[in-house]
């Protein structure tokens, strides 16, 4: 479980996050949605420690992440996995070396054990026989799958995904979404996904937090989002004319 309490973040005096409080549970896919520039990426970067909050607290179960010392923080990081928007696979390494990278640093496993684990992770994301390929030889969807395989290599308790569907076609997006959902439920991971893809919202949004101008304006599930009365949320979800007409029909 991850708990965010009254989180503020400023850049050069400009407040980007304005007191966000939210809770993410294990075994659920929790989505952060919002327009570009609303602060959702900043929120995610604060959660994983790439940014330091101006004030507020972030709790990982019973550990206050914001006040942990560097050594303790490093230990906690071993329980985190992250899928980046552009996959962020290491160019210098093959697919299997990418997945074995965290194992090289944080386990004393033999080469065979690491290879077995890498093969298991690749099988789990339905990407066998790509071990020796380099990231630039893979399609966008395949890179995302390798990113997921690398993120789950050390059995993380917390999984973060930054726009996992960006640059993917709708069919591949759904495949990636379902994969993330399956892994979340299978290993009881606390998964936080930053997205503005409405297909993802409807497909896997167990819990959704809508961020608007640095504030959390709405919170609910994918079933509740269509019935919301929050004007800003409705403007975001039903942005196109067709969607607005559909909304009117639903009402």
């Amino acid at each position: 479980m991850i708990r965010v309490e009254n989180l503020h973040k400023e850049f050069d005096g400009k407040e980007v996050l304005k007191g966000i409080s939210i809770e993410y549970k294990a075994g659920e896919c929790s989505l952060i949605i919002g327009a570009s520039g609303s602060g959702k990426t900043v929120l995610l970067k604060n959660l994983v420690g790439l940014h330091t909050p101006t004030s507020g607290e972030i709790w990982y179960d019973d550990k206050a992440f914001t006040t942990l010392k560097e050594k303790q923080r490093k230990e906690l990081r071993k329980e985190m996995g992250m899928l980046f928007q552009g996959s962020a696979l290491f160019d210098f390494a093959t697919v299997e070396e990418n997945i074995m990278f965290p194992m090289d640093f944080f386990t004393d496993w033999s080469k065979e054990e690491k290879l077995d684990r890498a093969n298991f992770c690749l099988k789990r994301v339905h990407l066998e026989n790509a071990n020796k390929k380099y990231p630039n030889e893979l399609s966008g969807g395949m890179q995302k799958r390798v990113g997921i395989a690398r993120a789950i290599a050390l059995n993380p308790k917390y999984l973060f995904c930054d726009e996992p569907n960006s640059g993917l076609d709708p069919t591949t997006s759904i495949v990636i979404d379902r994969l993330i959902q399956e892994i979340t439920q299978e290993y009881n991971i606390t998964t936080v996904i930053n997205t503005h893809d409405m297909n993802s919202v409807m497909e896997i949004g167990d819990k959704i937090g809508f961020i608007y101008q640095g504030q959390k304006l709405w919170e609910g599930s994918n079933r509740e989002i269509l019935k919301s009365d929050c004007k800003e949320l409705n403007d975001f979800v039903f942005a196109s004319n067709m969607a607005k007409q559909l909304r009117a029909l639903m009402k």
């Binding site: 790439l50 992250m82 980046f84 552009g86 290491f90 160019d91 090289d104």
Partner: protein
């Protein structure tokens, strides 16, 4: 002034992250071998070509300037040796390496920064600065005497080659000049300078790459900034070390 202070502060903060105990020594030594090959050993052909020509040019220019019959011809070898050991094999080679290695490091690390590969390492709990930068610095500094000495020896061969080709002086005079008033201290001085310059090249290029921002244009900008800063610092340290060591 504020910018210089900020850059200096950021640089030393990064160096504190870099000079920490590696997570696993096995990975560190493996990376040192990879970086040593990529940065230093792969630069030897370029350095060899430049050294051979500079050695030859130094000899031709000295011959042309020693017209007086009262000056022994062996001074050609002596002066070529002094030019190479005192300035060319350390400062000039370092400036050449600044262009090759400096841009390589800054663009490689900068690309990793803008494609979030460095963030990925940090989130895993890997000290990205230590993993990426320390092996580059250590392998380059450790191999710097080899670079300086190979440049020196190849430069002397360049001089010998032009003498053999033109017959301007005899080879015996050239070799006598090379042995004349030889000071081993100059070799140590040159090696020391090269080690300092190599540290400047690798650490500054890494710094500019590590803090690159703004997409591919930003990577290009950081690479250019790195080479300018490295070149200026090499010249400043050349002056300081010469004053200090000679």
């Amino acid at each position: 002034m504020k910018k210089i202070l900020q850059t200096t502060g950021e640089y030393w903060t990064l160096m504190l992250k870099v000079f920490q105990k590696p997570e696993k020594w096995r990975i560190f030594f493996r990376q040192c071998a990879v970086e040593g090959q990529k940065l230093t050993l792969d630069s030897v052909p370029l350095i060899s070509i430049i050294s051979i020509f500079i050695g030859a040019v130094a000899v031709i220019q000295t011959i042309n300037n020693l017209e007086s019959p009262f000056i022994p011809k062996m001074y050609v070898g002596y002066m070529a040796r002094e030019i190479l050991v005192l300035e060319f094999c350390s400062t000039m080679v370092a400036l050449i390496l600044a262009g090759k290695i400096g841009s390589n490091i800054a663009s490689e690390i900068g690309s990793m920064r803008i494609t979030e590969q460095i963030d990925a390492m940090d989130i895993m709990g890997v000290n990205s600065a230590n993993y990426l930068i320390l092996p580059k610095i250590v392998s380059s500094v450790v191999l710097s005497p080899f670079v300086m000495l190979s440049s020196f020896v190849i430069g002397l061969f360049g001089g010998a080659a032009i003498i053999a080709a033109t017959g301007a002086i005899t080879m015996a005079q050239y070799v006598e000049g090379l042995q004349f008033a030889f000071k081993i201290h100059y070799i140590y001085y040159s090696i020391s300078k090269m080690a300092v310059f190599t540290f400047i090249i690798t650490s500054l290029a890494s710094y500019y790459g590590y803090y690159a921002k703004g997409g591919s244009l930003g990577v290009g900008r950081s690479s250019t900034k790195a080479i300018v800063a490295i070149s200026v610092l090499i010249l400043v340290f050349d002056l300081a070390l010469t004053k200090l060591l000679l």
